[in-house]
């Protein structure tokens, strides 16, 4: 079930360093929102605040509000572990559990949530692998180690692992930056299918990718190194890439950056 994300007045720190300042935005359910911006502008940091992964970094700290429908992820008494079960994440480098088989990788999240019968588990694993467009490639080697797959397959395995627990939101942190163009295309197609079921937020350095996969695009920037990153604007992707309302956005997407 996809949920709406509503962020208001969010700051994130590394120790005493303010990494992103005063971010407010809304992410619509069943849509793809892309974050673009130069390196160091805090888009990955911001992404990681959406499933409370930022605070696992030593010194990581957040204030502000992230509403998932009507629940504040940073409200009192909210367990970050529970948040992460609701908001799935795919990382820059494919990171299947190296000691687990393909099957166990997909089942890993379910096993955290409780006991499943073997047949139920088989169904979820098959459904998730199909959902990640990986089933046909791995159905004969479900018991082989996940680390034996190609990079693109590993990344789709990670997506299967993330969607197996039926999260409300799927966060992707530059999911294609370690992949070749064909694997990238496979993931992009997959993102188009997954947005029917999930709210998707993707960080990317590749502006064509943002233009291809996303419905809305957010541009982040920072005034200078050592300054906090800020959200410059968020709008329909088409508008951002044709007629953005802020000059800095236009400079960035047209390559006149810096």
């Amino acid at each position: 079930m996809a949920k709406r994300i509503d962020v208001s007045g969010l700051n994130a720190y590394y120790g005493s360093f303010l990494a992103i300042e005063d971010i407010s935005m809304t992410v619509e359910p069943r849509s793809v929102t892309a974050f673009i911006g130069p390196s160091g502008c805090g888009k990955s940091t911001f992404l990681r605040t959406l499933n409370r992964m930022h605070e696992v970094t030593p010194g990581g700290r957040v204030d502000g509000k992230v509403m998932l429908d009507d629940e504040n992820l940073y409200g009192p008494g909210i367990d970050p572990v529970a948040v992460r079960r609701e908001v799935g994440m795919v990382f820059q480098r494919p990171n299947p559990f190296p000691t687990m088989s393909v099957y166990d990788n997909v089942a890993a999240g379910l096993r955290l949530n409780g006991r499943y019968k073997k047949s139920e588990m088989d169904d979820v694993v098959e459904k998730s692998l199909k959902g990640a467009n990986l089933w046909n490639e791995v159905k004969d080697r479900l018991n082989k180690p996940g680390s034996g797959l190609s990079g693109g397959q590993q990344q789709r395995l990670c997506i299967a692992r993330a969607i197996a627990v039926e999260p409300n939101v799927l966060l992707m942190d530059e999911p294609c930056s370690a992949l070749d163009p064909i694997s990238t295309l496979a993931i992009e197609d997959l993102i188009g299918e997954l947005k029917e079921r999930f709210t998707i937020v993707i960080v990317t350095h590749n502006m064509q990718q943002a233009a291809r996969v996303s419905d809305r695009t957010a541009f982040f920037n920072l005034a200078a190194v050592g300054q906090p990153g800020k959200l410059i604007e968020i709008d329909e992707t088409e508008r951002i890439f044709s007629n953005p309302s802020v000059q800095a956005t236009e400079d960035y997407i047209s390559g006149r950056f810096g």
């Binding site: 696992v56 572990v81 990171n95 559990f97 000691t99 680390s147």
Partner: protein, 334 residues
């Protein structure tokens, strides 16, 4: 081949002869390379020769003793190599060595893994550093000091534990206690556990520290608690490291001499109870008897040393097998 010759701007070089090409492929064309290759190859060969020499010495002297042994060398409970005819066997020593080492491992491995996990994943940085330092200090204590501590402090304080074990688990026979001094195989096992704790902790700690952050984040992002992260990412990644660490510890426990000789009250006898005095280990037996042994007695002791050598080799081989069987699942190829 020199890199500059592949530079398109440099003049073409004459084709190297076949012999030169071969030499170049081996990478030993410059004097520095040749010296380094020689040194490292020599070191490699040296360790093989050394190992072979030790094995040959042990086998030769052992064969002299075993050929004169009138009792079964492997099953006899006697140790009387100076007698006429000489009768001796290693059954008691093998039993004592293996049992005390198993006790040590059973106690030390879980505690060491626990300490290593605490240092790397739970403790605040400063506290973790302090604990790591203290564990390192434990490794620096000489074994004779452990022996003194064992016999003067540990053994007198074990009476309470022995009494408790006898009361509640005495019916098993293994924990039966007739009330003598606690200088038994269990005391030795406990002392050995303390002695091998540092090495197992240190190696495990290093392995846990190397778990790639992205594997831990993979688990965290699925909604794993800290313990589940450890179970899903850290322990599987560190598995082969824990095994190697344990084997290093086991090697030390099997061969530990002075501390065992000081704590154990040796009898040449296998006792079903771990609490009653008795038993012996290879190393302890050699240390206690070597000085007063006859030439035949020395050869017999060397024969027992050969058995310890073989047991250690087998343990290491088994450990390597366990590690390599899981290689395709190990974190190394990630």
């Amino acid at each position: 081949m020199d890199i500059s010759t592949q530079n398109p701007t440099s003049p073409p070089t004459p084709q190297p002869t076949e012999a030169e090409a071969k030499r170049a492929a081996r990478g030993a064309t410059r004097p520095g390379d040749r010296i380094f290759v020689g040194l490292s190859r020599g070191s490699g060969i040296f360790v093989l020769v050394l190992m072979g020499a030790i094995a040959a010495f042990l086998t030769y002297r052992a064969s002299i003793a075993i050929s004169k042994d009138e009792a079964n060398f492997f099953t006899s409970f006697d140790w009387n190599p100076a007698g006429v005819p000489p009768e001796f066997g290693i059954a008691v020593l093998a039993f004592g060595t293996v049992v005390s080492s198993i006790i040590a491992m059973a106690i030390a491995v879980p505690i060491a893994v626990g300490i290593a996990l605490f240092i790397t994943h739970y403790a605040p940085r400063k506290l973790g550093g302090t604990i790591a330092f203290v564990v390192d200090l434990l490794a620096a204590v000489p074994s004779i000091v452990y022996g003194l501590w064992g016999v003067l402090v540990l053994v007198p304080h074990l009476n309470g534990l022995y009494g408790w074990l006898d009361t509640y688990l005495g019916w098993t026979g293994v924990f039966e206690w007739s009330g003598g001094p606690a200088r038994s195989l269990l005391a030795v096992g406990i002392l050995l556990a303390i002695m091998i704790l540092p090495i197992i902790t240190n190696v495990s700690r290093e392995v846990f520290r190397q778990v790639p952050r992205m594997h831990e984040e993979a688990a965290l992002a699925l909604g794993a608690t800290r313990w589940e992260v450890i179970r899903m990412s850290v322990l599987p990644f560190g598995r082969s490291g824990i095994i190697s660490a344990s084997m290093l510890g086991l090697g030390r426990a099997l061969g530990e001499t002075m501390a065992v000789a000081m704590v154990l009250s040796p009898t040449f006898d296998i006792n079903a109870s771990l609490l009653d005095a008795g038993g012996g280990t290879f190393a302890q037996n050699i240390a206690s008897k070597f000085n007063e042994a006859s030439p035949m007695g020395r050869d017999a002791l060397i024969a027992s040393g050969l058995v310890l050598f073989v047991i250690t080799l087998l343990v290491n081989g088994a450990a390597r097998m366990i590690i390599s069987r899981r290689k395709e699942y190990s974190g190394a190829n990630a």
